[in-house]
Structures are given as structure tokens and as C-alpha cells.
């Protein structure tokens, strides 16, 4: 037998002996912790994704063929392959617009991703000479320039550096894997214009792609000169030219941020409701349990337990239930989010950047603080009553 039972041991035995009630209270806290953790992780990941996307977009204005805005948005934010084209001459025409500092173009191709998988992967071809959108990012990850038989791939394609891949029967080597961005680029293969030319000229591509040469592009990215208003330049382009759609990138993100705000509000309301409901439930069950145990507490006081010791026992009981429920809830929620992370980010219409270890730890601590706070609150009412009672009143209960 242990030499001396501590107040923790006493509290633990009390908690174990009321398995059903402990289980019910733990379940409420489990649901609360799991929901809080899930909401916080999702929201933080989305915020990180939007921030990352905003950094990565690079351009002030994006010009695409008219009526294809949503395809481009999906391609950028979720990596859903799109194949829209307009003539390359648009680059020169847009360069001439007053206020435009520089332009770079991208060509979107879609290809079968791998031998086994019957789904399309986005291929983006860019001109290394004038590109200011993806080149800086690619240079962060791979120091050298790409050759025409090399590709750089997003992190979610399951490919490794040095691996051999084939697109439209044309072989490439993976020169590098990019860091996670939280946007569609994570599911994208990047190739330079020479590499894209090899693909377009291949026999397989002729049967699949709608373009037969590299005189086409999918998107023009524009940087606006300092001192010029981006909206004014955008309006000028839209007024001057038909058959194209002009978008300010900050506004594109604005729509995404609006969607995220909606989701965030929903999560916050859900969390507040859950905290309130769980608190009410746990307070009620705890109060009933404490009430039923008044004689037990009276007996403790009778053989010389101080009120401080009694309060410690009760608070530790609440803490045990809270900590177990919280850790179980966070573990379950974390496991589900970890295992289904690809499904979650694939189904989000919003950029989604998974959290690093420190980020997760911060959220874990926040959840524990909230649930522990709730656990403490659940004992306050009972403790106040206990503090006011004397030993005789407690002993009389249950007589």
C-alpha cells in the first residue's frame, strides 16, 4: 500500500468510483474540446493560406480570357486544372497600357498526373525571363535555373526530387519540390516555356490539348508602376479591350476573405454556444454530485479535514475530468484532421495551409485553457455553497 494518499489520489479515487457520471461529464468536455480545436486549427490554417496566397500571387492585376474567371480562381486557390487560352499577343498589348510596369504570362496545361491515376494535374508553363510570380518562389526552393527536361512540383503531388515523370509521353526529371503554399500551386507542376513547347509538340498532346503551338497563354500578370492607382489601371484596361477579363488580385482575395469571415463567424458562434451548453451541463451534473456528497464532506470535516483540503479535492476532481476530456477531444480531433487533411484541403474553396508544430501547440494550449477555465467555473457554485456550510449542516444531509 502507498505510504500516504495525497489529495490527488483521493480525488482520483472519487472520480473513478462514479464512472458513469464522470463519463458523461468527460463526454461533454470531449465534444467541446474537439470542436474548439477543429475550429481553431481550420481558421488558423485558412488565415495562413490566405496570407501565403497573398504573398505568392505577386501580381497587382491578372488578365484572363473573358468568362473564365472562376476557372482561374479555382486553379490558383485549389489547383483544379483549367485549360483556358488566348493569344500571346495580348502580352504586348497590355504592356503598352499606361501605368503597367511589367508583365509576365503563364500557360495552363492539364495532364494526366501519373500512370495509375485517372485525374488531371495542373501544369503551368512560365517564361523564366520575365516571370515575377512563380520564379522567385521556385528560386527559393531550387537554386539553379530549370532546363527544358525538368519540372518543379508542388508538395501535394507525392513526387520526390530526382524522380522521373512523364507528361504526354515526354520525360521530365523533378528538379525540386516546392514548400507548401496553401493554394493551388501545391497541386501544380511547373515547367519553363521550352519544356512546355516539348509537350505541345508531342504526339499525345496533339490528341488531347486544344492548342497546337506555344503562341497561346492562359493568364497575364501585371505589375503596376508606383504612383499609379491599381484600380484606375485595371479600369483603363477593361475599357480599352474587349474579350478579356481584368481582375485586381487584392479583390480576388477579398472575396476569399469574405468567405473565410463567414466561416469564421459560424465557427465562433458554434464555439460560444458549445462552451455555454457544456458549462451548463457540467455545472449541473457537478452540482448534483456535490450535493449528494454533502454527508461525505461532513465526515471528512469531522475527522479533521480543513475546508481548504476539501476544496482542493473537489477542484482536482474537476481538473481530472476536464484534462482527460480535453486531451481525448484534442487527440481525436487532431487524428481526424491529420488523417483527412488532404480531403479537407481539397474540399475547401479557400486556400488552406497546414499548421506547423508550434502553431498546433499554441492552439492546444488555448483549448486547454478554455476547457480548464470552464472546469473551474463548474466548481465555483458548489465551492461557494460548501464554504458557507458548516460541518453539522453537511452531516445532516442524507440522514
Amino acid at each position: 500500500m502507498k505510504n500516504k494518499l495525497t489529495v490527488f489520489d483521493i480525488a482520483w479515487k472519487n472520480v473513478k468510483s462514479r464512472a458513469y457520471r464522470t463519463g458523461v461529464m468527460t463526454l461533454f468536455i470531449f465534444v467541446l474540446a474537439a470542436t474548439l480545436f477543429t475550429c481553431m486549427v481550420m481558421l488558423t490554417s485558412m488565415e495562413n493560406g490566405i496570407e501565403s496566397t497573398s504573398k505568392r500571387l505577386g501580381a497587382d492585376i491578372v488578365v484572363v480570357p473573358a468568362r473564365y474567371y472562376s476557372s482561374i480562381e479555382n486553379a490558383l486557390f485549389t489547383g483544379e486544372p483549367c485549360t483556358v487560352y488566348f493569344d500571346k499577343s495580348w502580352v504586348e498589348r497590355l504592356e503598352e497600357v499606361e501605368g503597367v510596369e511589367s508583365t509576365s504570362s503563364q500557360l495552363f496545361l492539364a495532364t494526366l498526373g501519373a500512370e495509375c491515376c485517372e485525374s488531371l494535374t495542373q501544369l503551368i508553363a512560365f517564361d523564366e525571363a520575365d516571370d515575377f510570380v512563380v520564379s522567385p518562389w521556385i528560386k527559393e526552393n531550387t537554386a539553379k535555373s530549370m532546363t527544358d527536361s525538368e519540372v518543379v512540383v508542388g508538395c501535394d503531388l507525392g513526387l520526390h526530387e530526382g524522380e522521373e515523370v512523364t507528361y504526354y509521353g515526354v520525360d521530365f526529371t523533378v528538379a525540386g519540390v516546392l514548400e507548401q503554399s496553401g493554394m493551388g500551386y501545391d497541386h501544380t507542376v511547373f515547367v519553363n516555356l521550352d519544356g512546355a513547347r516539348r509537350i505541345i509538340q508531342s504526339e499525345s498532346a496533339k490528341n488531347f490539348l486544344t492548342i497546337q503551338n506555344d503562341d497561346f497563354i492562359s493568364m497575364v500578370n501585371l505589375k503596376v508602376k508606383d504612383g499609379y492607382d491599381i484600380e484606375a489601371v485595371s479600369n483603363a484596361i477593361a475599357t480599352k479591350y474587349e474579350d478579356i477579363a481584368v481582375y485586381i488580385t487584392s479583390k480576388m482575395l477579398g472575396n476569399v476573405e469574405k468567405d473565410m469571415k463567414g466561416f469564421s463567424t459560424y465557427c465562433k458562434i458554434l464555439s460560444v454556444i458549445l462552451v455555454l451548453l457544456s458549462t451548463i451541463a457540467v455545472v449541473s451534473i457537478f452540482s448534483i454530485t456535490i450535493n449528494e456528497r454533502k454527508r461525505e464532506f461532513g465526515i471528512f470535516i469531522l475527522f479533521g479535514t480543513s475546508k481548504k483540503q476539501l476544496i482542493e479535492i473537489i477542484v482536482i476532481e474537476a481538473a481530472i475530468i476536464t484534462v482527460i476530456g480535453t486531451l481525448a477531444g484534442i487527440f481525436a480531433s487532431g487524428a481526424v484532421m491529420l488523417f483527412f487533411q488532404n480531403l479537407i484541403s481539397a474540399n475547401m474553396a479557400i486556400p488552406y495551409l497546414e499548421l506547423d508544430f508550434v502553431g498546433m501547440l499554441v492552439i492546444l494550449l488555448k483549448c486547454i485553457l478554455i476547457t480548464l477555465g470552464m472546469g473551474c467555473v463548474s466548481t465555483i457554485y458548489s465551492l461557494i455553497n460548501l464554504g458557507r456550510s458548516n460541518g453539522v449542516d453537511l452531516l445532516k444531509e442524507g440522514e
Partner: protein, 220 residues
């Protein structure tokens, strides 16, 4: 003199009427003395015991334990007084059902500031009350008489100077009641003061002194 209760009164209010649960009570207890207090229900026996053990403060008079007035003690000191000096055997069932017999007996020690190993003393007490084979049993496996013995052993764990037993033989069969009274007598013969309250005539064979209470006062 172990305990001296001097002119102690306790007043309660019930439906706008004042009444005395205990009125001008005087009582002395020496080391090793066995006192039985008898009287009808509501005569104030339990209230007297609660005041002696410090659970209630008297409205007037004083209670001296080993020549110290216990009224001056704060909540913590009172808890320490109950833990170290008094062993209280409550009326009815008072064993903690979440803990084993051994843990129940040691519980007052666990709540104290002492750090030494109490295991041997607890085993010794278990043997004295004839319960050593039940050390790891839980209260729901015991009979009423067995639980009462555990309560008495628990009251003795911290070597108190005074044992207070409120109706120690209530709801027990004759055999168990005699066992309990014999044991309490042995305790008093070992030098510990014992005060019991009882409706059972058995006390007459064991008590050194019998006091009758009625309406909060001693009947001479």
C-alpha cells in the same frame, strides 16, 4: 482534567421562536473516564458533541480541552484539533464507500501533516477490531457492525485523547453491540476519555458515569 464544559448554551431559531438546544451545560471528563449520556431524541446530545468537537461554537460558556479554550481556534486550528485530539464515531454509517477499509482507517492520518508510515498502526487497529482480513475490502462488502468497527478504528488512528461516539450501537444486533461496548471500554482503560450517547441500556454495564439529558439540560 481532559475536558471541561462550563455553562455552555446553544440557541436555535425555529419559526420565529428561540429555543435552547443546550442550556447552561456543565460537564467534566477525565483521562480514561467512560461517560454515557442518555436522553430522548432532541435532548441536545448531538449538539453537545458537535460543540465539544468544534463543529459548532457555543453561544455562551466555554469548552476547555486540556485547559485550553477551544473557542479561540480559527478554522484551520479547529480542523487540526479534531484531527489530532478527537476521535468521532458518527451515528449511522460513516465509512467512505470509495475507499478500502485500510484507506478509510488511515484517512484522518492522510489529512494530517504527519509524514511517517501509518501502515503498521492501521493494521494493529484492524486486528484489535477483528477486521484484519477485510483490509482491502470496500464498505459495500461489509455488514453494519463491521462498518461500525472500521469507524471506531478510524477514530483511533491519530491517537486521540478523547473519543466521542454518537449512538455507537444503534441498528446493531446484540452481539455486535456488546463487542463495540467492550472495545470502547478497553479504549477508556487505556487512558483515552470516552463519551457516548445511547438509547441502549448496555451502557449501564460499561460507563463509569451516566448523565441524563433532557431539553438541553442535565437531569440531576
Amino acid at each position: 482534567m481532559l475536558l471541561a464544559v462550563q455553562n455552555v448554551s446553544k440557541r436555535y431559531k425555529h419559526k420565529d421562536m428561540d429555543f435552547f438546544a443546550v442550556k447552561d451545560m456543565n460537564l467534566t471528563v477525565d483521562n480514561g473516564e467512560f461517560i454515557a449520556i442518555c436522553g430522548p431524541s432532541g435532548s441536545g446530545k448531538s449538539t453537545l458533541f458537535h460543540m465539544i468537537s468544534g463543529l459548532l461554537k457555543p453561544d455562551s460558556g466555554c469548552i476547555n480541552f486540556q485547559n485550553q479554550d477551544i473557542a479561540n481556534k480559527n478554522e484551520l486550528e479547529m480542523a487540526q484539533y479534531r484531527n489530532a485530539e478527537i476521535g468521532y464515531v458518527l451515528q449511522g454509517q460513516s465509512v467512505l464507500k470509495n475507499f478500502t477499509v485500510m484507506e478509510n482507517i488511515c484517512m484522518p492520518f492522510y489529512m494530517s501533516n504527519h509524514a511517517n508510515d501509518i501502515h503498521n498502526r492501521a493494521l494493529e487497529l484492524l486486528k484489535k477490531v477483528g477486521m484484519e482480513q477485510y483490509a482491502n475490502s470496500y464498505p459495500d462488502q461489509l455488514s453494519g457492525g463491521e462498518m461500525r468497527r472500521v469507524a471506531i478504528a478510524r477514530a483511533l488512528i491519530n491517537n486521540p485523547k478523547l473519543i466521542i461516539a454518537d449512538e455507537p450501537t444503534s441498528n446493531l444486533d446484540k452481539e455486535n453491540a456488546i463487542y463495540i461496548m467492550e472495545f470502547l471500554k478497553q479504549i477508556s482503560e487505556a487512558g483515552i476519555g470516552v463519551i457516548i450517547s445511547s438509547h441502549d441500556d448496555l451502557y449501564q454495564d460499561y460507563a463509569d458515569r451516566v448523565i441524563t439529558m433532557n431539553r438541553g439540560q442535565i437531569n440531576e
